[in-house]
């Protein structure tokens, strides 16, 4: 039986989290509340949620930097709580604006990290070269870390994270400070890493990027995992709860807005103008949608087109924010 298989010979999940809880004080609070996660190998998993949802606490606990109140964490089959040193050998964590030692040059820093991971001699030098190439920093290798721009520092930290070919890569806001070219390089590097079977977990406030990159996502709010799964499935589920319609009229948009906000409109419609069109929420089933079309046709509002908007990650996260605020 390989280390990556369980007693039944089944492949272990890349990351398995069970019943994870993180507290910071007695009454107020569970920053992370009984979180369960299963992320397969080779997945690029985006953990999303508004500020204070518990993402960073989850990341720090998974990265063995913080003790949870309770819970179990398995990284590629290794128990991260019981054997943190074993887990660290296959783990890389890149925090938001990760620190770098200003007294070392870029290449010296990577050599140091490689040695910490047990790479020495020719193997170390080759790997350092590969990682510098992966993040396009070969021409900056002799510069001190303090001389690098913010984006370059982030790329160097990413190179350091890739050095030991981690099986689990956790990135908290990895694109901070990166220009579009560097972001494209980051996406390529992460896709390549995932293609080797590594599990990648990341969060970012640039949601459109996550949509391009992630194969699955998890939504967190107030410490709880609200939804998770393959990207398309989550968007479908979340979209069904809050579909949006865009309507064009040759009549008065004010009249249409009033009608949608009134008793004949769908509940929680929140109608508003977008580029001379009216957009509203439509939290209802297909049959209710058919009935709505009949009603709005009969109202004589001059509707010339109705489009159902595709749900994006941004809509889902904004929806999470709205739900949080309304609570």
């Amino acid at each position: 039986m390989s280390q990556d298989e369980d007693v039944n010979g089944r492949a272990e999940a890349g990351v398995k989290v069970r019943n994870l809880r993180v507290d910071y004080s007695r009454r107020a609070t569970a920053a992370v509340d009984n979180l369960d996660l299963d992320i397969a190998r080779g997945e690029i998993f985006g953990l999303l949620g508004p500020n204070g949802a518990g993402k960073t606490s989850t990341f720090r606990v998974m990265a063995t930097l913080q003790e949870p109140t309770h819970g179990e964490i398995f990284l590629s089959g290794r128990d991260a709580r019981r054997n943190p040193e074993e887990a660290r050998a296959i783990l890389a964590y890149m925090p938001d604006l990760a620190p770098l030692p200003n007294d070392l040059r870029a290449e010296e820093y990577l050599r140091f990290l490689a040695e910490c991971h047990g790479l020495n001699g020719q193997v170390r030098d080759t790997r350092v070269q590969e990682c510098l190439e992966a993040v396009d920093l070969c021409d900056r290798r002799r510069e001190f870390c303090r001389q690098l721009s913010l984006g370059m520092r982030q790329r160097l930290v990413l190179a350091g994270s890739l050095l030991h070919r981690p099986q689990v890569l956790i990135l908290d806001e990895p694109a901070s400070g990166m220009d579009p070219v560097a972001r494209a390089a980051l996406r390529d590097a992460l896709r390549n890493q995932a293609a080797t079977g590594a599990t990648i977990i990341l969060s970012s406030h640039v949601l459109s990027e996550l949509q391009d990159l992630c194969t699955s996502i998890g939504l967190m709010r107030e410490g709880r995992l609200v939804d998770s799964g393959p990207l398309r499935d989550v968007l479908k589920r979340q979209g069904a709860r809050g579909r949006r319609l865009r309507l064009r009229t040759i009549g008065s948009t004010d009249a249409l807005l009033r009608w949608l906000a009134g008793p004949d409109g769908p509940p929680h419609a929140e109608p508003h103008l977008v580029h001379h069109e009216v957009e509203c929420n439509f939290p209802a089933s297909d049959s209710e949608q058919a009935a709505f079309f009949e009603r709005i046709g009969a109202a004589g509002l001059g509707i010339v087109s109705m489009r159902e908007m595709e749900t994006s990650i941004e809509d889902v996260v904004l929806g999470l924010n709205r739900n949080g605020d309304s609570k």
């Binding site: 004080s25 107020a28 990265a63 660290r88 050998a89 620190p99 010296e108 910490c116 790479l119």
Partner: protein, 546 residues
Amino acid sequence: MNAAPPLWKIWRNPIVRRYATARLRWGALVGWSIPVQALSAFFWLVVFLYSTKYGHISSHEAAAAAWIPILILQGFLWIMKGTFSVAVGIAREGVEGLTDAQRLTPLSAWHKVLGYLFGLPILETVLVASLLPWTAASVLIGNIPVAIVFRVHLLLVTAAVLHHAIGLVTGTVIRQKIVAGTVSQLLVIVLHFIVPFFSRLGAGPLGHLGVETAITGELQPLFLSHPKSFLRTVRFFQFDLAMTGYQWLVMAVLLSFLLIILWRKWKRAGAHLLSKPLAVAFLAWIVVMSLGEISPLVRDGTLFDPAGRSPSKWMAHGSSIAEPVARQGMMIIWAGTVGCIALLTAMLVATIITPTLEQHWSALRALRSKGPRRIAWSSDPYSALAWTAGLGLLATTGWYYLAREVMETPGLSFFLRPDSSMPVIFIAGLLIPLLTWALLLEWRGMKAAFAGAFIFWIVPIMIVVVAVLSGTHAAGWPKWLAAMSGFSLPYLSLVQSSRGLEHFPGMPDLHGPWLVSLSAHGILAAVLWYRLRQARTLDPAPAHAA
């Protein structure tokens, strides 16, 4: 992938190599080597040439004498500058978040401890090594026995590593570069220049935290035909031990405790500096060392009369107090101060092992998920109250032993005798203020405990000192106010359990203040205990708040 290098191969430790790369760049090395080599050459040659030309001593002795400034320079570089570099370096790593990054590497906690311990002061180590040719010149020209060279360097290396470990703990705990660096330098100054002064007043073990005495003892055979034995041996209980071996052992034990502290912090960032059993062992070690070194001073009468410079003679000088009475007064002050220091030491160790309420609640929640279990009695989140009581009893034992020995030693004590109630009164006088402190600490945290101790235990004494100096009679309200301080209780307890005090002219009656202070502290402790018990309970279903 290769495994981490063996622990003993320090030069292969990645952290040592990282600092060797960063701190041993040509610019820094040359920049530091020029003044260091210039100074060492200057001092060595000045001492050697002056001694041979004007001191009328042989070139052998002159070369040996020239070794001393080299040792002082090595000590300064390694102990002062090295400790500063370590404290500032590790504090900076903590502030910048690099220790978190280091935590993520799969090196063991011991690799990290030794890596930083030997890596951070690597420039100073190289500079010290660069002075070895001057040492070699002294050894060869001065015919210095290899055994002496070995023992001196063993002491120097151990002291340097010990101080670097102190710097590492300081920087780990304080986490502010400038403060950590300043505190580390103050500690070095205190250990080497201030503490030796107190060691002559009966705080014997403190004198062995610096290496000057032992190194002086090692060097004196080079210059004196009849070396002074007190510089070569230490009297420990009834044993005469070699100074070098004894001092090395003291430093090695202290270093072991510091290394354990660092290992615990690398293993788990939120861990207490020492586990509860180790904290007890640490205090027990301090108590045994203190008793072992002080009791011979009591028995041979040198405690209050070091080299004939008796403080009691000074007290009696120019006053109407007879010298024996003054000596008995000194004895009371000394024994009360020992009690006060015992209380302070126990408070300090208790602070290390006392959990916060957050730690307690977190442990309760973790256990709740596993069913009905209790927090392990020796774990960090377990209440430190019982352990603190144990620490208090240990400290009281040491205090009682010394106070009794002082009062029962013929020639030292003329009319003071211990009362049979002394053990009980001592336990109450130390344990009650100690537990009051520990309860406040556990309930409201360190800031509140320190603020409380300052306002209610120190400020009243300051007020009394000012009042008495301004002419207010001490037997009036000042004695009541002073008694309210927890730090007064050891003195009051001593007075309360001693017989023969009527020989002191104008001695105020302290029974009332002692009883009131003890009762007040007892009631306060009971209230704090009740509040702590309430605060410790966990809400049945904690609500979420991000």
